[in-house]
């Protein structure tokens, strides 16, 4: 295992890596963006040139040293470049989730006191303008796409092109200032502030130093032996630590080429075109892929279906072993090779994963079926466990030791230990400096010896040394009976069913566990079509008795499964209901990264929870909802409540 702090001897900031690449490999592709029908490509020299110009431009526009600058928008060449520009100009990039609604944006902007905002397009600019005088300190807004921005333009709201021009022919004064600021920076100075999507309450600004970033990046590169020239598709929110580390830090350090898709709806085609070597996706992406595969194959001709299922069974049996190079017998190997030609290969191809040498999933536990599926068709999908505070990586799965139920061994330079309350603690050169302007919570999470509390309960598997996560520490509680109560653990098991999108389990300090279920419209809808069940709305489908019975079936299976694990057998679900609306970030019920805000949900739907316990058969309820355009409304419904089988 290489020492990932070595990198600090060469570089003290990430933009120095960019400059280095521009010098050494000026004409190698650095970043691409699908625009105007083709992949517009920037070489490393283009990349650095643009970054430098913008940096100078920002200074010209009066950006102060050490001041935070906000970035909001989809993954764009220009925005990635801006990250470097801000750092070069001595500032601190503060990326914001592009789909954040105005209020969420407000919090981040107020808290960070960013004076300059670099926004992608009209949509984002509008949000900022909407907040208006709530943001006294905002001075300038730069926008990328001037489509229908004509009417906005003023000397406070300007196109990025102007800023770049300013930079091109900037004054001596600016240039010297620029040099000064660049010199002043050390590996200890702040590299970025990332606002966590905060499962609870207001989001906190995680301060990562240049050292944190560099060590994390170099560690990950060495861990998976990433080679220069590998293609990566950058499609996850720029404000998310994962994308920041992958696209802004690992890319220059490992000289990977990042590719920005044209738009969200073209992601799949863009992904297919690029065929990345390194792919990162949260579980829901893989779930989505698998569902779409299954739906499409259902509509295929009979022969194809047969072939598909035959070879998928084969893959289930031996695919994983083939991937890890274990011996599977000559005949099977031959069969698998055939399958690879007519099923697996085409499948990987149509997923755009023909060339993936390393694929990661994290953020949530992934369903074993899904996980195994992708591995069995020859995609080296692995899990990692991490968090913003750690600069992503806490543990990662090394090749050959990949299992769906663990999250792997400590990442390079990471020390791991389990606190007395079963909480996972870690310490590493990449772990964060502090929460921005929030020493209180900093001290809560990080002790003086640098041990950071993850807030997750888990244990290290003896023998393998792999980490196993049970649930969020504070969510792991006790039932009235004193038995262990680990809701997340159960919820995940439920969510592994394609028909179940979300599940929320209650039972802390109660005798029994009860659950909310959110059905997955696409797959249940598809199922309904096949069963020819007519439905007008999500609500109607969710309330349908047949749907209920189907869900009940799933829950019984889960209960059976849980009962095997005596430690958790108390967590079996007694009664449940299917929610009449999807849990929605716009309503604050789940985070942007789709983590359930348990407490919030429990309060909002207190009437339902009560009903689940008081044994009533149905419950009438009224719920407030926020529509995409921000309008508010409310829907009322009468929900059925069912009981599931408990296993002694």
């Amino acid at each position: 295992m290489t020492d990932n702090t070595a990198v600090l001897k060469e570089y003290s900031t990430i933009w120095q890596v960019l400059e280095e690449n521009a010098k050494k490999y000026p004409n190698f592709p650095a970043v691409r963006e699908k625009a105007f029908g083709i992949w517009q490509t920037w070489t490393w020299s283009d990349y650095s040139k643009n970054s430098n110009n913008l940096a100078l431009g920002l200074i010209e526009l009066g950006m102060e040293d050490k001041s935070p600058v906000a970035i909001v928008g989809n993954n764009r060449q220009q925005l990635y470049s801006a990250m470097f520009s801000i750092q070069m100009a001595g500032g601190i990039p503060v990326p914001i989730y592009q789909d954040a609604v105005a209020e969420e944006m407000l919090h981040v902007l107020q808290h960070s006191e960013a004076k300059i905002i670099i926004a992608e397009d009209q949509e984002q600019v509008d949000k900022v303008i909407e907040l208006g005088e709530k943001l006294p300190n905002v001075e300038k807004i730069l926008f990328l796409e001037d489509k229908s921005m004509r009417s906005y333009e003023s000397n406070d709201i300007i196109g990025i092109q102007k800023a770049l021009e300013l930079g091109e022919n900037s004054t001596e004064k600016t240039l010297s200032e620029f040099e000064k600021r660049k010199k002043a920076q050390t590996s200890e100075s702040t590299g970025v502030i990332l606002y966590t999507s905060g499962t609870t309450g207001k989001s906190k600004g995680v301060v990562l130093s240049n050292a944190n970033i560099l060590t994390a990046a170099s560690g990950a590169i060495s861990f998976d032996k990433l080679r220069p020239g590998m293609e990566v598709v950058s499609y996850l929110p720029m404000a998310w630590v994962g994308d920041f580390i992958f696209s802004t830090c690992m890319a220059p350090l490992g000289r990977l080429c990042i590719n920005c898709p044209e738009s969200r709806d073209t992601l799949m085609t863009d992904l297919k075109e690029i065929g990345p070597d390194f792919f990162f996706g949260p579980p829901r992406i893989f779930e989505g892929l698998l569902t779409s595969i299954m739906i499409r194959i259902e509509d295929a001709s009979n022969i194809k279906k047969r072939l598909f299922h035959y070879f998928m069974n084969l893959a289930k049996k031996i695919g994983g072993d083939v991937l890890e190079g274990k011996s599977v017998g000559l005949f099977n190997r031959a069969l698998y090779a055939l399958g690879d030609l007519i099923i697996y290969g085409p499948l990987r191809n149509s997923l755009g994963m023909s060339r993936v040498s390393v694929g990661y999933t994290a953020g949530e536990a992934i369903g074993p079926e899904i996980f195994e599926f992708f591995r069995s068709i020859g995609i080296n999908l692995k899990q990692l466990y991490g968090q913003t505070e750690a600069g992503v990586f806490v543990t990662m799965q090394p090749d050959g030791e990949v299992r769906s139920e663990t999250v792997g061994v400590p990442a390079p330079g990471v020390e791991l230990k389990i606190g007395e309350n079963g909480e996972v603690l870690y310490r590493s050169p990449s772990s964060f400096v502090e929460y921005y302007k929030n020493s209180k919570s900093t001290n809560e999470t990080k002790d003086n010896n640098g041990w950071v509390a993850t807030g997750d309960a888990g244990f290290i598997e003896d023998g393998t040394g792999h980490l196993k996560i049970i649930d969020r520490a504070k969510d792991v509680g006790k039932l009235a009976s004193g038995e262990m109560f680990a809701p997340k653990y159960v919820e995940n098991k439920l969510k592994f069913y394609p028909n179940i999108l979300e599940a929320v389990l209650f039972g802390k300090d109660k005798e029994k566990c009860v659950a909310f279920i959110n059905i997955d419209l696409s797959s249940v809808g598809n199922w309904a079509e096949k069963e020819n069940i007519a439905y007008a709305s999500y609500q109607e489908l969710a309330g349908h008795p047949q749907v209920y019975s189907m869900i009940e079936g799933h829950i019984n299976e889960v209960n059976m499964d849980i009962s095997k694990d005596k430690m958790l057998s108390g967590c079996q679900i007694d009664r449940f209901l299917v929610l009449h609306k999807e849990l929605d970030p716009d309503d604050g019920e789940i985070t942007r990264t789709r983590k359930v805000r348990r407490q919030f949900v429990e309060d909002k739907y207190s009437d339902l929870v009560k009903a689940l316990y008081d044994g009533s058969k149905t419950i009438k309820t009224e719920t407030k909802v926020t529509y995409e355009d921000g309008r508010e409304g409310s829907i009322s419904a009468t929900l059925e409540i069912r009981s599931a089988k408990l296993v002694k």
Binding site: R32, G37, I38, E273, G275, R296, A300, F308, I342, M353
Partner: protein
């Protein structure tokens, strides 16, 4: 199924608009070309040369020509036979007139002459459309054939009225006359077909080609975007006739070696070529070749299978064949107006989506 497109992305309009956008197609094509150029010549026999390859190459060129006019520009012509005659006689006069002129130049000049004649007979297309024009083009067919029958100068006053191709060479290699080697004529025609297919591709991907298609799809709309119908249609006639002229020249000089108008360039030649593009695929380069191959191979097939194998009398086989072709035309017009090539496209789509239906 065998397509692996992941990672096959385009970073320039050049590559995005390339002839073969899929890596696999490119490989297949060049592989095929390599075999055709470096392997086949060593095995090609007189029989294969004269009754399969030359007819295929030459008719492909003619079909390409007619497809430019009919498939791309939407002007149906039944004068192909006549224009081939022009090409043939032009080449004859050139070969006999300027004995040491390289055959390649002869062919090109013959094409040029035909292009001029084509423009002349294309003039009516400015006033009349659809089958009015189709019928009008018959005029060229009949008039030209008659002309080469009666005009002694055109066949050097030979008493038989027949024209015979003297020995001429391409870069020192005989490609006409009795002394030619199969591989020589094979490569000569293959080369020319390649060139003309490539030219067609270039023309139809540029603004001239688009102006043709615009005229074909909706001439009024074409005019408002600045297409001059006169120029568009006549240029189509010119290019088309050039191709057909070249085909005619090769047909006479390289393939048959001798010709006599009423037989060699009769109206059924016009129909044959028209059928090639209907069956192969209107407005498709590949289609032109598929169609040519089909119409060429069909009689051979009938001859070998029905006559040779089943021992059916020749005349019956012939009639059956006529019926078959006619029925096929009707079938394609009803079922698949885009011809065989459309089936090929669907197959390809399926292979690309495999194992999914969409």
């Amino acid at each position: 199924m065998f397509y692996r497109e992941a990672g096959d992305f385009k970073t320039s309009y050049q590559s995005d608009q390339a002839t073969f956008t899929l890596r696999l197609d490119k490989i297949l094509f060049w592989g095929l070309m390599a075999i055709a150029t470096f392997v086949v010549p060593f095995f090609v026999t007189e029989y294969w040369e004269k009754s399969v390859f030359l007819p295929f190459f030459i008719y492909s060129i003619a079909a390409l020509g007619l497809n430019i006019l009919t498939g791309y520009c939407g002007q149906v012509s039944l004068g192909t036979g006549g224009f081939m005659a022009v090409g043939a006689y032009a080449s004859f006069k050139l070969m006999t007139g300027i004995p040491n002129l390289d055959m390649f130049l002869v062919i090109m000049l013959a094409g040029l002459v035909t292009a001029l004649v084509g423009v002349l007979f294309g003039l009516p297309s400015l006033r009349i459309k659809g089958f009015y024009l189709a019928v009008a083009t018959l005029a060229s067919q009949f008039f030209l054939v008659w002309l080469f029958n009666k005009w002694e100068w055109s066949y050097n006053y030979s008493p038989t009225g027949q024209i015979n191709a003297p020995t001429r060479d391409f870069l020192g290699i005989d490609v006409t006359g009795p002394t030619t080697a199969p591989w020589a004529t094979y490569l000569f025609c293959l080369g020319l077909l390649f060139i003309f297919a490539w030219i067609t591709r270039n023309l139809v991907r540029g603004h001239i080609g688009r102006s043709w298609m615009a005229i074909r799809d909706m001439d009024i709309a074409a005019e408002i975007i600045g297409v001059n119908p006169l120029v568009a249609k006549l240029s189509a006639f010119a290019v088309s006739s050039f191709f057909i002229g070249v085909a005619g020249a090769l047909y006479f000089s390289v393939w048959l070696g001798a010709a006599e108008p009423t037989e060699a360039f009769a109206i059924d030649k016009s129909f044959d070529v028209l059928f090639m593009i209907i069956i192969g695929g209107l407005g498709s380069i590949l289609g032109s070749m598929i169609g040519a191959a089909f119409i060429i191979l069909l009689p051979i097939f009938f001859k070998n299978v029905l006559v040779g194998y089943c021992g059916i009398p020749t005349d019956i086989a012939e009639f059956t064949q006529i019926v078959f072709i006619g029925a096929l035309i009707i079938f394609f017009l009803i079922k698949e107006p885009h011809g065989i090539v459309a089936y090929w496209r669907t197959l390809k789509e399926k292979l690309r989506l495999w194992p999914f239906p969409y």
